[in-house]
């Protein structure tokens, strides 16, 4: 089983980055050459970039009408330099929204680790790369670090909202992104593990409560929160702040919290925001309306 501790120990022993360990292990377990694995990841990074671009279209709207156009607002403000937290933070939020909106509007995305949480990792990695003038190779390698963390979470807990709530989707993506950008900024493998632990700790207990069962409300804005959380965790780790609870124990805690969540808060659209008066009204309008009931036919 993949553990964060195991990854860190191997990296420290060999004097390499976490991404090197993940790349090495993948090469050993699949027999695929490292160059091919890197090439595959380059392609995924390039899809992520395209999703950002598509999602930034101000005219984009989802089938339900619930989403689209918000990342364009955020990007405009971030580029103007007038936003509260400056261009780096503004662009990261805008990209998390953009990729998630692209997903909601049936655009092409990379599940990272899921479609519902697909905005966090591209936002963190692409914005860090751009704002810190880092080569693309650094971003590609960081995606392997993210994958290693994701595997540890998927094997030790879950990355499915139906199983573990939103903490398992947005939480996992946020922890993956935190570790990835910590490595991009020159953090040690141990710092990456602390970044992962802190990001995951911050969202323990987050429930999956999508309005009308659609991957839109609150999923899209939670992707913005997810990248903000990843940035906070990475900043803490990079200045030497440590998580008192090790990453693997946080993952175990996440699993237990997920197991004790009632079904109504695990993607069934029966609790949380989905069960608010407005959530129910929106669901009725979208799913119960004439449009949804009508049998559609193409002649």
């Amino acid at each position: 089983m993949t553990t964060v501790k195991g990854l860190v120990e191997q990296a420290e022993k060999e004097g390499v980055a976490l991404s090197d360990v993940v790349l090495q292990r993948e090469n050993e377990s699949t027999g695929t050459r490292k160059e091919e694995l890197l090439e595959h990841m380059y392609r995924n990074l390039s899809v992520m970039r395209d999703s950002c671009r598509e999602g930034e279209n101000p005219n984009l709207r989802s089938e339900s009408g619930l989403s689209g156009g918000d990342s364009a607002k955020m990007m405009e403000r971030a580029r103007s330099g007038e936003n509260l937290c400056g261009p780096f933070f503004g662009k990261a939020l805008a990209r998390a929204l953009a990729v998630s909106e692209c997903n909601a509007c049936m655009g092409r995305i990379v599940a990272a680790p899921t479609a519902g949480s697909c905005g966090i990792l591209p936002a963190a990695v692409l914005t860090t790369m751009e704002e810190k003038n880092l080569p693309e190779e650094t971003a590609v390698k960081a995606l392997f670090t993210a994958a290693g963390i994701g595997m540890a979470i998927a094997e030790g807990a879950s990355i499915s909202g139906a199983q573990g709530g939103c903490q398992a989707e947005v939480g996992s993506a946020s922890a993956m992104a935190a570790a990835a950008i910590t490595e991009m900024m020159g953090g040690t493998p141990d710092m990456c593990a602390h970044a992962c632990a802190m990001a995951l700790k911050n969202v323990l207990g987050l429930v999956c409560d999508p309005v009308a069962g659609l991957v839109e409300v609150p999923c899209i804005k939670r992707n913005a929160m997810g990248v903000a959380n990843a940035l906070a965790a990475a900043e803490m780790a990079l200045c030497g702040i440590e998580s008192r609870i090790p990453a693997d124990e946080v993952i175990l805690a996440m699993r237990r919290v997920g197991d004790s969540m009632p079904g109504s808060l695990r993607e069934t659209a029966e609790g949380g925001l989905a069960a608010t008066p407005t959530g129910r009204r929106l669901a009725e309008e979208i799913l119960g309306g004439k449009k949804a009931e009508k049998t559609q036919e193409t002649p």
Binding site: T2, M106, A112, G150, Q296
Partner: protein, 221 residues
């Protein structure tokens, strides 16, 4: 668990189960039909019926029947493309007990009048399970290449087919038999390690008591 299970798949949103998995279910019908579809009746059950429109499940299934892969950007426009290509699709919603909440039944007719019926569920993360093919109970994930042989239920057919596969150097990963609700027909579904050539089907169809053979290549992710 592998790196690209976490950073991937590349897919059309918004949902791996309601969109990407739905495309793959459609792909099974596409592979079975082997010709352009002209008419389709798609029955949506459970969560597919309830939230399918918002998730684009209708467009995803249609795209899949037309042979598009889960990352094809034309999925969004598949209903319009179907219309342009002379593929008439209609949808109905049905309440059914005892089936997976993300179940769809695809009845598709090809240009020659040949029809196929695929019943299956999208079971999460883009994975699928086909539960019925042309009325016969099956269990197909589409993860491996699968050979489907419809035959008279008489002694010797299984031995003939499996011996032939062995002679072709093909290794069987899983084997399942099912019987038609009525009649004396049976269906072998044989999952293989690795891929197999399309020419395999013609050879198997020449065997005594074999009605038809279909090769379902491992589905794209």
């Amino acid at each position: 668990m592998h790196v690209f299970d976490i950073i991937g798949p590349v897919m059309i949103g918004p949902s791996s189960s309601h969109t990407a998995g739905a495309v793959r279910l459609g792909n099974v019908a596409h592979a079975m039909l082997k010709e352009p579809p002209v008419r389709g009746v798609i029955t949506l059950c459970g969560s597919f019926a309830k939230t399918g429109r918002g998730h684009g499940t209708d467009r995803a299934l249609t795209a899949g029947i037309m042979g598009m892969r889960p990352d094809d950007t034309r999925i969004r426009d598949s209903l319009r493309l179907a219309q342009e290509q002379g593929f008439a699709v209609s949808f109905c919603r049905e309440e059914r007990d005892g089936v997976h909440p993300n179940t769809a039944i695809l009845q598709v007719e090809g240009a020659s009048g040949h029809t196929v019926t695929v019943e299956g569920a999208s079971i999460g993360g883009g994975s699928i399970c086909v539960t019925k093919l042309n009325g016969m109970p099956v269990e197909i994930s589409g993860e491996s290449t699968t050979v489907l042989v419809l035959h008279e239920d008489v002694p010797g057919v299984i031995a003939a087919v499996t011996n032939f596969l062995a002679a072709c150097g093909l290794n069987i990963a899983a084997f399942r038999m099912s019987h038609h609700e009525k009649g004396e027909l049976a269906l072998m579904s044989i999952e293989l390690d690795g891929d197999a050539p399309d020419s395999l089907c013609q050879s198997v169809e020449n065997f005594a008591n074999v009605r038809s053979c279909t090769l379902l290549h491992a589905l794209a992710r």
